[in-house]
Amino acid sequence: MPPILQGIITIIIGVGGCVGYFYAANLFLDKVLFPARGPNAGRNINRANIVRPWVFLFPAVFALGLYLVYPVIGSFIRSMYDRSGDEFVGAGNYIRLFNNPDFRQAFLNNILWALVVPAVTTFMGLLIAQLTDRLKWGNIAKSIIFMPMAISFVGASLIWKFVYAQDPDLGIINAIRTSFGGEALDPLQIPFWNNFLLMVILIWIQTGFAMVILSAALRGVPEETIEAAIIDGANSFQVFFKIKVPQIIGTIVVVWTTITILVLKVFDIVYTMTGGNYGTEILPSFMMDFMFRDDGQATAVAFVIMLVVLPVMIWNIVQARKEMR
């Protein structure tokens, strides 16, 4: 089994190399470059401490730079060249994209995904977190709802392919439809609404994540404020919407953002379920159509995705800076 052997060897080389790098670099810094003895001991220790953070950071900064920063710039430059990369076309790829009805469809669908999925997922997560909070079997319920997190998008898509299957002997949806006298139809081919059926899959996967985090946040709401509200005559709904939700709004926003980011990266579901047919195309699956044959347009699509995410990114950085002060 060469792949296994190759894997084991690489684990040893890769992991060993990492450990070796950190160990050797520190040793070199302390014993050879700036030894903490002799006449300049104090000065050397200080110098070593100035250099050391960069020794610790170097592999991470290098990998981040190469695999995330460089591609942003690289993709932008590449998106201004033609399909083979020989000729500069400026905004040509972008103009071609916006004139392509499929691209506009994909763009609109993507916006739809980014609006619906985070909203529904966060709402469901919050609802379930609140409902299971005081249930005896709440933890079991939570585990079950959290479970799809572990399932690959491809696996989840297959699971839902069964649910949506046209044959009423396979798909439970059509089984219910026909038992009420309806006619079996292929849910994935109903234009516009099929988008929502695909979103259900992602909502199914992600609600557990929202639930876990929001449930922890709900637990963090101080008991006193809730008790005070109840003594003042608030009912359960008022306690929830007027006392609890405002206090965890920060966490709600974090969850919302995280899921929005995930939505913009989602590709597997559409690719596996419909392949982007029947009007379900989204930007990542649209990009895959150009991958390997027209790098200019592929990178242009990627850059459009980047622009869609940009506000979220800026908001995230601003938030992080606020916390550090």
């Binding site: 089994m1 296994i4 894997g7 684990i11 992991v15 160990y23 401490n49 050391r52 610790f56 950071l57 592999p59 991470a60 990998a63 981040l64 190469l66 695999y67 995330l68 460089y70 942003v72 993709s75 005081r134 249930l135 585990s143 479970m147 799809p148 997190m149 572990a150 399932i151 690959s152 998008f153 491809v154 696996g155 297959l158 069964f162 299957a165 002997d169 439970i172 994540f209 876990v212 306690v239 966490t251 974090v254 980011i261 913009l264 990266k265 590709f267 597997d268 690719y271 930007l283 990009m287 895959m288 991958m291 990178t299 990627a302 995705i305 990114m313 995230n316 992080a320 800076r321 550090m324």
Partner: protein, 406 residues
């Protein structure tokens, strides 16, 4: 607040019922897949998985192959349909019942059991519920016997056959042939046709792609959390910003880069790619966790003369175990479940295919209608993540919370 008068009863029942329904909705799709993966192919297409424990009506075709006799000017065949050659092997239990029968393949259940059907040549056919049949014809009957179709209640048939077929990529006959020619089942697993091969590939991608980023990120997180140097705030902001960069941007430039430096589409390439893509989350989660560790421990260690390297390996790493475990689970699930990166950074055919690609590209394409195989393949691909997830769920939740609840 449950103890406050007037709060319980009604609302509590509604809550229980609501949660129960939600849990059911969440569970049904997976249960359906799980049940289907153990069902026989014919049964899957004959009845829904929710009817799996009950017997199903399957249609069969056979020939009335008992010896014909003469009765006046008619030719007659009679016998028991369950004992005819083509279906004999499938009805060995003895307690079988016919629901309906037919004379044409398009309508295998045109006539109820016991009803007399007119044949096209002027003869009659009767098949009774117990399987006994009488076939008459004015024409002589040839030796093979006339065709008959029937529907019979068939008991549920749970099998591991789907798993054997998916793992080896060989159907029952092919497996029997190979085993007859001296191969063991273990050897069949490593044939290139089966998904077991892709399973191994997925492991090969996943393990290094999980360990290496943790190691790199842990050092960086320590530096960002506990070391003073100019530009620290800027670097942290960069990491937070990079969390959001869509993967799609990286595909084209990096694949070109990999091709230029000679890595091409290979395991090495995908390890590096997953390492790079996993780092922002790793650094972010680990830094958030490490910043929360008590300052006193680190300072007193420094006073005692420990270097940063010693503090990191002897104090911070052991204390950060929950966060490390949490990220490890995340990265494992992410790399195991990934389709996009594998599609781009690994060759699309042959030895290096991972499971997700095999399922999405091969199985869904060539075996699109073979639901038993699809269900089983999906279950093989989600089994390991589910085990990891449920055994390590505690750490996953703890790490998630360290990263996102302030």
């Amino acid at each position: 607040m449950d103890n406050i008068a007037g709060q319980k009863s009604g609302l509590s029942i509604v809550t229980n019922v609501a949660v129960f329904i939600i849990v059911l909705l969440w569970l049904i799709p997976t249960v359906g897949l799980f049940v289907s993966s153990f069902r026989d192919r014919d049964q899957i297409s004959a009845s829904g998985w929710w009817e799996a424990p009950f017997s199903v009506e399957l249609s069969y075709r056979t020939r009335a192959d008992d010896a014909p006799t003469r009765d006046g000017d008619l030719y007659v065949v009679q016998g028991n349909i369950f004992e005819t050659g083509e279906v004999r092997d499938q009805f060995t239990s003895g307690a079988n019942a016919i629901a309906a029968f037919g004379l044409r393949g398009r309508e295998p259940g045109a006539f109820a059991a016991g009803q007399t059907a007119e044949n096209r040549d002027g003869g009659t056919v009767v098949v009774n519920a117990d399987g006994s049949y009488v076939y008459t014809s004015p024409e002589p009957i040839d030796d093979a016997g006339p065709r008959l179709y029937f529907l019979a209640e068939t008991p549920p048939d749970f099998t591991l056959g789907n798993y054997a077929e998916v793992l080896t990529g060989l159907d029952e006959e092919e497996r029997a042939q190979e085993i007859a020619s001296g191969a063991t089942f273990g050897e069949l697993l490593f044939e290139e046709t089966g998904i077991f091969r892709n399973f191994i590939n997925t492991l090969t991608v996943t393990i290094p792609a999980t360990i290496i980023p943790i190691l790199i990120a842990a050092f960086a997180a320590y530096a960002l959390a506990w070391m003073d140097f100019p530009g620290r705030g800027f670097l942290i902001a960069c990491v937070v910003g990079l969390l959001v960069v869509p993967l799609q941007l990286a595909l084209v430039p990096l694949l070109n880069l990999h091709n230029q430096i000679g890595i091409g589409q290979s395991f090495l390439g995908i390890w590096l790619a997953h390492t790079g893509f996993g780092l922002p989350l790793a650094v972010y989660l680990l830094r958030n966790y490490m910043v929360g560790l008590p300052r006193d421990i680190i300072e007193s260690a420094k006073v005692d003369g420990a270097t940063d390297f010693q503090i990191f390996t002897k104090i911070i790493l052991p204390l950060s175990f929950p966060a490390l475990a949490s990220f490890a689970i995340f990265q494992f699930l992410w790399t195991w479940n990934d389709l996009l990166v594998a599609k781009v950074f690994l060759p699309s055919t042959g030895d290096a295919q991972v499971m997700t690609v095999k399922i999405a590209d091969d199985l869904l394409g060539s075996r699109g209608g073979d639901w038993g195989i699809l269900a089983t393949a999906a279950f093989v691909s989600i089994a390991i993540p589910l085990v990891v997830f449920f055994s390590m769920q505690r750490y996953l939740v703890r790490g998630l919370l360290a990263g996102s609840v302030k």
